[in-house]
């Protein structure tokens, strides 16, 4: 059952080929068998999952199924789940049992989804390799000496290893798309504000966005259909109609214009990565799309702009962790300042502390104009570049990541080199656009991904493009051999 896509599993449940309990037990069994090694889950919620599966079976028998009834899904451990530990990959929240449930989780449960558990991630979603997690790194199922990417590394690895048929992720600078590429799966970051951030632990609030991760574009469409929509509890969630993503999957793409930004294929890029994405674009050309070259001149400044804006917002968001109201508290504080400082220093890991310090510095008196204000101005230049490109093209395409999965430990002590893992994904977050990464082949046995970027609210169109590509190719169907092999 684990080789089937979510869409196929939905059909199997509807046809009575298997029950939700059988399906859920099958995936729980795979987690039990393989996850000690891969480490993609922080918490497995077996009892709740089986109870939800039984309820789903009853609903299906009564003909009252929703979009996701009986389908097992793994949630990133950044989404609050009432009664279940929500750690955000941090010692700070190691004992935090959320008192409420995030809108994303609630909406998927309302459609009948079964929660398998909570997936591992970089601490507070800050990282591109899943090595900053308090619960240890996740291993890439294609080569366990390599990283799964991050920050949604657990989500991507559990999908790659077929330990879950679907997962949620969040993407602040590439955290859905980059791990999707490194694990050979499909992941979509929707338009900023398309999916509610309520109950999603905040990293950088003007960039954070939740989205679906799955084995195919069709699976992501099915999940997004359940996740998207206005939420009065998140004032940045947009009150726009949710499109029929499933209905748009098979739209004709003849005449579609694909823009290829020259900045996504710099001379310094690994030739194999460039060739791989160019080949994917050629495949779509064969299906009737037109390809034109475009330029996004300011995109080269997206990583520096991001590493001012995201840490600045993080330093403010993470000030709530004070050892007083919830989360880690140090032993025997001498006074209030000692309580704050030791609780925070013990609870946060090195990368989180670095980003808080960078953000605090960038916002401090005398530096605000040079850093924060300038970064916000550059952010507008980047958005304007995209807007100009979308006057001429329907979607933009290029590599998702500049390299395939790197070795564990390779970049751990070099933040700036780690930050470059997101060089092609960050611009999209700064502009607030939707983008998807889909598997487009292998280099030396490791998966590669290509990004499809759409205009605001055009999730339906990019899912359509990816679906057409996946009907013509089978890269998304490749799975690693787990067994007794390394």
């Amino acid at each position: 059952m684990h080789t089937k896509t979510l869409t196929e599993l939905k059909a199997g449940l509807a046809a009575g080929e298997f029950s939700s309990r059988e399906l859920t037990e099958h995936f729980l069994g795979r987690i039990q068998q393989f996850d000690a090694d891969i480490n993609s889950f922080v918490t497995v919620t077996e009892q709740q999952a089986l109870a939800q599966a039984d309820a789903a079976d009853a609903a299906l028998a009564a003909g009252k199924g929703g979009l996701l009834t009986g389908l097992p899904i793994a949630h990133k451990d950044i989404f609050c789940t009432e009664g279940v530990r929500t750690s955000c990959g941090s010692k700070m929240l190691d004992t935090f049992i959320a008192p409420y449930t995030a809108t994303v989780v609630e909406k998927m449960a309302a459609e009948g989804a079964v929660m398998l558990g909570k997936t591992n991630m970089d601490e507070f979603a800050m990282g591109s390799s899943n090595e900053t997690s308090y619960y240890g790194p996740v291993k890439n199922p294609w080569d366990r000496e390599r990283v799964p990417g991050g920050s949604s590394g657990g989500a991507a690895a559990c999908l790659g290893a077929r330990l879950a048929p679907a997962a949620t992720g969040t993407d602040t600078g590439g955290s859905i798309r980059q791990p999707a590429a490194l694990n050979g799966i499909t992941g979509l970051k929707p338009t900023y504000g398309r999916v509610s951030r309520w109950g999603m632990i905040a990293f950088a609030s003007s960039l954070d966005q939740a989205g679906p991760m799955g084995l195919s574009a069709a699976d992501c469409a099915l999940m997004l259909q359940a996740m998207a929509g206005h939420d009065h509890r998140d004032s940045t969630s947009l009150n726009e109609k949710v499109d029929d993503y499933l209905g748009a999957l098979n739209d004709d793409i003849r005449g579609l214009t694909i823009g290829v930004p020259e900045e996504f294929f710099p001379d310094t890029l690994d030739g194999a990565i460039a060739d791989n994405s160019r080949e994917a674009i050629r495949e779509l050309e064969k299906l009737g799309a037109k390809v034109v070259s475009v330029s996004l001149p300011s995109i080269k400044l997206s990583v520096p702009a991001y590493y001012v804006i995201a840490p600045a917002e993080a330093s403010s968001n993470l000030s709530r962790f004070d050892g007083v109201r919830f989360g880690h508290r140090c032993d025997d504080p001498q006074d209030l300042e000692d309580l704050y400082k030791r609780s925070r220093s013990e609870g946060f890991g090195d990368e989180v502390k670095r980003r808080i310090l960078v953000g605090t510095y960038a916002l401090s008196a005398g530096y605000y104009d040079a850093y924060y204000r300038r970064a916000q101005q550059v952010r507008r230049l980047i958005r304007d570049d995209f807007a100009r490109a979308f006057e001429k093209v329907d979607v933009l395409m290029g590599p998702t990541a500049p390299e395939t999965a790197f070795k564990l430990g390779d970049k751990k002590d070099d933040p700036v080199s780690m930050y470059m893992a997101d060089v092609f994904t960050i611009g999209v977050n700064l502009a607030g656009l939707p983008a998807l990464s889909m598997p487009t082949g292998f280099i030396k046995g490791l998966p590669t991904g290509t990004q499809v970027i759409g205009n605001y609210f055009r999730e339906g169109q990019i899912l359509n493009v990816a679906h057409k590509y996946q009907q013509a190719t089978d890269w998304h169907k490749q799975a690693p051999v787990l067994g007794g092999a390394k």
Partner: protein, 95 residues
């Protein structure tokens, strides 16, 4: 705009983080690496460019001024590291 260990200590205090003096040099090197990368922003011509705080030009939605959320005080107090009689406990701040 290089930062030294003195600046690191000041910023750490502002962020209420404790930095081990033995780690300050290594940390300031890392932070300087990051700031050197970020300094590429100085190349950009941002004359007359308005700062962008939000990806989409939207206005804040308004709602009726009525009670919409239940009182969750007890649930919120339950997860506090130290609480008593509906108050969060902290070390004495007034002698």
């Amino acid at each position: 705009m290089a930062i030294d260990s003195k600046v690191v200590a000041q910023v750490a205090h502002l962020a209420r983080l404790k930095v081990d003096p033995a780690d300050t040099d290594a940390l300031s090197n890392r932070l300087n690496d990051i700031l050197a990368m970020v300094d590429q922003l100085q190349q950009a011509d941002v004359t007359d460019v308005a700062p962008m705080a939000h990806p989409l030009d939207v206005t804040q939605p308004l709602r009726d001024d009525t009670v919409s959320e239940p009182n969750v005080r007890d649930k919120a107090m339950d997860i506090a590291p130290a609480a008593e009689d509906g108050c969060f406990l902290v070390p004495r701040v007034i002698e």
